[in-house]
Amino acid sequence: MTDMKRILLLGTLFLAIVSLTAVAGYRLMTSAPAEWTTASPRAEEAFEAALSALKKAYRRDAARHLDRALELDPELAIAKLYAMRLADSDRRQQLEAELRSADLGRLTPREALLIGYALAHRDGEHQRAEAMLAEYLRAHPDDPFALDAACNAAWLRVDSEEAERCYANLIARHSNWVEAQNRLGYLAMGEGRFDEAEERFLTYRYIAPDQANPYDSLGELYMNLGRYQEAEASFRQALEQKPDFCASYTHLVTAQAFDGRPASARASVEAMAAVEACRSQLEHGFRCWAETVIAYTDGAFEAAWQASAGCPDHAHWSVLPHRVALITGRTTAAQTLEKALRATIDHYPHRAPLNRNHLAAALENLTGSWALAHGDAAAAVTHFERADRLSSYWGDLQLTLKLYNRLDLAHALEAAGEVHEAKALRRQIEAVNPHLEHAFGPGIDALVALGAKP
């Protein structure tokens, strides 16, 4: 055998061995272990459906799937954890008790972590919980559930920078983890990076076009930007995907109200009322709040007050009732609302600074409004500026508090004689939402006029 033949033979053999080894290694590395501990494939299927529903923010569907999964396998611990998050108080306690008695040793590391992490938080051992999570992530840096938990923790403690970094990491590893796309969109929107937010929400919508939430999130952004028609279209698309997606009804009503179309807004309220699943939310405060906003943006301040008077004691929604109370001369009522909000903040858990900050911003706005209504424009500016620092472009207040507050600030600056600053601020506001003045300007003007009275 010549040298050439020998080399060719050895070369071919070598390549064959390397190829076989590579294929075998690849198969070994890519063979996935079982993710959830259950002997029932149907229970696992139901649980996966629940996770899918949760990703879509379909909580009721998720709850239904979880109940089904637990019915099929009462020992499916991870389903109990998720069910506990969605359940009412009694059921939650029962499930918690069951989880505490569960043998975590037989579960997968991920299940053990998620359950242990949740229980530690419920026990108030937050540091231990975060330590558990960090340790798990060192061993499993690619686990999307653990990464999501870590990102969510950053989100809740309003560590925007860490939350963005964390979600970006999660997307880099699991690009279709839609919740991360959604959160990153909100983070960008909260920071005023609206183009980026739009790209995130569009990506979210692209990934999950069959879900309601991407359309809803995108609609919120458009609403913030004053693109009310697009917002309405997006909310309607959300409702097409999921007719009982109640959040989109609330956003649709708000957008129509902000756009100065009270009749449409009211029609949407009625449409929401026709949906069985949304009726509870409607009757537990939203109808009242919707009527308040519709009347307020329509310039009917007395009607707004009348509408808000029937609202349940909901501190989150105190900004507009407080404003109309001041405008209509009901200062005591306004003081009561402010007091109630302050009490809410005092009792609000420090672990949830996101909402706490929003409440604090709302309180500063209330205080600034009071000062403005009483002719102290300088104090109003101070309070509005504090509120601006505490608020973001997105929050839990059903209106864009930051923009609303900034408009207040611009008017206060004008009242305080700081015309240039006021103009500059107005330009900034208009750059974001050119229609805000139209919806909320009359209310602020009334407040300023009230303060200008001797």
Binding site: D3, S175, E199, L202, I207
Partner: protein, 836 residues
């Protein structure tokens, strides 16, 4: 520069080549796999999925995706890298409409893209692949032809790296899973390519500049530089690009990359290339052979016009169509010039024999392709017309093809033959002419001269030498005097060469079982004298000698086709030599025959037409030489004892010329001595002594017959002759008594021959004869013998003439008239009847 060290890198290089070819094959093969493809060519150096090009008419083109867009989602999945995109595309089906998410200048948008069957990027990539493979196979050919030459090893490395770079790095990057692998490998090839290029240019075809700089007469700085190069040049050369890469990466980890490399590496590549051109020029200036210099100039021009535009266009226009036209297209100059330089100027001592059959096949393929193209074009032109629907159209078309195919092929073939086989044709023509000259030549010396003087010029050899068989040695009859004057005849070598009937290279003899110690010694001796091939000269009749051929000028081995041509010439030379030698021999024989004829005449003149004998006696004689000249004779002695009359008849040992000469000597001795010595006994003794002195073991059988006038007794002496036969009157035949001493004359120093007498009655005849009579052969090979002689004698009459006639007649009848085997002499003596 020939490899002399122990490590031979050729197997490693071949393994490298195998792997490189595998990688290139992977890259090309991947292009043809049936996969869903959107028609997007991605920018290979971008981290994201930036569109570099959109194939016209593809799904992406129809969807409005344009150059510069970034693909961020495919099939409802956010895509973060090319591998992810490839995985996602592989889940989809050909023909499926897939939503794409694309970031355009206007923002992020969703576009529906219908996936087509994956197609190779475009013609430019095919062109690049062709170039790469061409490079590789030129390098492989060079390595296989000159595996021990360092320049050919480095050239193969260059070709392999260049192929990987071209095919893997200039690949239209899509989403394929192997994109990343082959692109990275292309980058690695690009990293080491400049070093390999410079290395090659430094030693191509020999490191003449290094020899010059290392010479004692060179300047100090040059010698120092040469010493540094010899010590650490190569490691520095190859280590510098990775070092530059690491330094650039450390300085700016996220810096811009071109083909995966920082710009610093491209500057280094440019510097290496410029240095390489300088080295190429420096080497070319120091080469003595103008043919090599022309070849190197061609390589330099090809490299400069091929590589420099590529380099510049790659840096400035990579990613744009101008890159192909300005950079890639001129690159073809490099393989063309290298290939042409190797074929035309025999660089790296490579000589290519193009096979006609291969070129015929290629020509046929080209013509077929042309016809296919023409048919396709014609069909396209007439499509839809009435001509296309005619049933006669295909028949006419087929007829046209049949009629035009061969003429066109021949027209193409002629210039190809003229161009590629001009050298071979010239050699063939010259071989034919030499063959004709040889066969027309009848002078062996001229044949040898033609062969040994013209052959080296014809085949570009240093010398040729001819050894002809002379006895048991081979003698040099032509060729350089530095070669041995004679060579031993080695039967095993002779048999081997006779069996092969072809020219044999000496190195082939080394591997044969016939190689005995003597052959090995001979081969060593011949190799030491610069002999490369050996061939035997033999005709069907005999072995003539050996032809030795030196190696070719330029240290190139004799190619197989050249050997074939020379073998034909060798056979012609053998025939010519054989003819010339035969003619020479024939001439010599004719001369000899003429001489023999003269000698025969002289000899015949020596024999008396008639013998005389004593009165009352009658004598008759016959002498037939076996050849032109014979060894038998009879003579009348000048004197005899008393009044006796004496005749002798003799038979000399040996035949032809030697026998004739001996006969002359014996005849003259007898005559001379007989004058002084009439006594037959003493005459025999003296003649014996005289002949004995001649030596050479030549004998003369002699018979002596004498009688007195009117006597009744016949005296006789016999020395080596057969016994005399006596025919009595009644027809009876007796053998006469033999003397006790009858040794032929000249056999012993002293002879003691005795004379005997026998009374004869009238009518009785004594017959003397030489042994040629009894040993006359019939056509069946039977001897005439004594009995037949006696019977013939008995049947004859009582007179000597009749006895001679009868016996001669009987012999003629017996032998059938054929030429006698031996000289034949009869002499008959008898008393005349009248007296009785």
């Amino acid at each position: 520069m020939i490899m002399t060290g122990r490590f031979n890198p050729t197997p490693v290089l071949l393994l490298f080549g195998l792997v490189a070819l595998g990688i290139a094959g992977l890259s090309i093969g991947d292009m043809f796999l049936p996969r869903p493809y959107d028609g997007v060519v991605l920018a290979s150096d971008a981290d994201d999925l930036r569109v570099q090009e959109v194939i016209a008419g593809s799904g992406a083109d129809r969807a409005g995706i344009r150059e510069g867009d970034i693909i961020v989602g495919i099939g409802r999945e956010a895509i973060d890298d090319k591998r992810h995109a490839a995985r996602q595309l592989n889940k989809l089906r050909i023909g499926e409409e897939v939503p794409y998410l694309v970031r355009t200048a206007k923002g992020i948008e969703e576009r529906p893209v219908r996936l087509d069957r994956r197609r190779i990027g475009d013609g430019s990539y095919l062109y690049v692949c062709g170039l790469g493979l061409w490079f590789f196979f030129v390098g492989l050919f060079v390595l296989v032809r000159q595996p021990a030459l360092r320049a050919s090893q480095v050239f193969f490395l260059v070709c392999g790296l260049f192929m990987v770079f071209l095919i893997c790095r200039l690949r239209p990057a899509s989403y394929a899973g192997i994109d990343e692998l082959v692109l990275r490998l292309g980058t690695v090839a690009c990293l080491f390519l400049p070093a390999a290029f410079l290395h090659f240019y430094l030693i191509f075809p020999r490191a003449a500049w290094l020899d010059s700089w290392s010479a004692p007469g060179a300047g100090g700085p040059r010698r120092r530089l040469a010493a540094v190069w010899a010590r650490a040049g190569l490691p520095i050369l190859y280590a510098l690009p990775p070092a530059v890469l690491l330094a650039a990466h450390a300085a700016d980890p996220g810096g811009a990359r071109l083909a995966g490399l920082p710009r610093a590496n491209w500057w280094l590549l440019l510097a290496y290339l410029v240095l390489g051109f300088a080295a190429l020029r420096a080497n070319a200036r120091r080469l003595g052979d103008p043919r090599e210099r022309r070849g190197m100039a061609l390589v330099l021009i090809g490299s400069a016009f091929g590589l420099m535009p590529f380099l510049i266009a790659f840096v400035f226009f990579q990613g744009s169509p101008r890159f192909f036209w300005l950079g890639v297209l001129p690159l073809v100059a490099v393989p063309i010039t290298f290939t042409y330089a190797i074929v035309r100027f025999q660089l790296l001592d490579i000589r290519i024999i193009l096979r006609r059959s291969l070129l015929y096949t290629l020509t046929t393929v080209v013509v077929t392709g042309l016809y296919a193209f023409a048919i396709a074009a014609f069909n396209a032109m007439v499509r839809g017309s009435s001509l296309a629907s005619s049933r006669y159209f295909p028949i006419v078309l087929a007829l046209a093809i049949v009629l035009l195919f061969e003429p066109l092929r021949r027209r193409l073939q002629e210039p190809i033959d003229r161009y590629f086989f001009a050298g071979t044709s010239r050699l063939q023509q010259a071989t034919v002419e030499l063959g004709e000259a040889l066969t027309a030549e009848v002078d062996p010396q001229r044949v040898v001269q033609e062969l040994v003087e013209k052959l080296p010029k014809l085949a570009g050899l240093h010398f040729a030498a001819l050894y002809l068989l002379r006895g048991n040695r081979l003698a040099r009859v032509a060729g350089p005097s530095t070669l041995p004057a004679g060579l031993p005849v080695l039967p095993e070598l002779q048999r081997f060469l006779e069996r092969r009937r072809s020219l044999t290279r000496l190195d082939q003899l080394g591997a044969l079982p016939i190689r005995s110690g003597a052959v090995a010694a001979l081969v060593r001796d011949l190799e030491a004298h610069g002999v490369e091939a050996i061939g035997d000269l033999a005709s069907s009749r005999r072995w003539i000698g050996l032809l030795l051929l030196s190696e070719k000028q330029g240290q190139m081995p004799l190619e197989r086709d050249e050997l074939k041509l020379l073998e034909g010439l060798l056979n012609q030379a053998a025939l010519a030599l054989e003819t010339a030698l035969l003619l020479e021999e024939r001439t010599q024989q004719a001369e000899l025959e003429r001489e023999l004829s003269i000698a025969a005449k002289i000899q015949a003149d020596l024999l008396p037409a008639r013998l005389r004998f004593a009165p009352g006696w009658a004598v008759a004689q016959l002498c037939r030489p076996a050849r032109d000249v014979g060894g038998d004779f009879y003579a009348q002695l000048p004197t005899a004892e008393g009044d006796e009359t004496a005749v002798v008849f003799a038979d000399v040992s040996g035949k032809s010329v030697s026998g004739a000469l001996m006969m002359m000597a014996a005849h003259e001795a007898l005559h001379a001595l007989a004058i002084a010595e009439p006594d037959p006994v003493r005459l025999f003794a003296l003649t014996n002594r005289r002949l004995y002195r001649l030596g050479r073991r030549r004998f003369v059988a002699l018979g002596y017959l004498a009688a007195c006038a009117g006597g009744e007794r016949l005296r006789y002496l016999l020395a080596g002759q057969p016994p005399l036969l006596l025919r009595r009157v009644d027809g009876g035949v007796d053998e006469l008594p033999l003397p006790t001493h009858r040794i032929p004359l000249g056999a012993l120093a002293d002879g003691d021959h005795q004379a005997l007498e026998v009374p004869l009655a009238p009518g009785e005849v004594v017959l003397g004869y030489s042994d040629g009579v009894t040993e006359a052969c019939s056509p069946e090979g039977e001897f005439f013998g004594e009995q037949r002689l006696c019977r013939a004698l008995a049947a004859a009459g009582g007179q000597p003439e009749r006895v001679i006639a009868a016996v001669a007649g009987a012999i003629d009848v017996f032998t059938g008239g054929g030429p006698p085997y031996d000289d034949l002499t009869l002499i008959a003596v008898g008393r005349t009847l009248s007296e009785s």
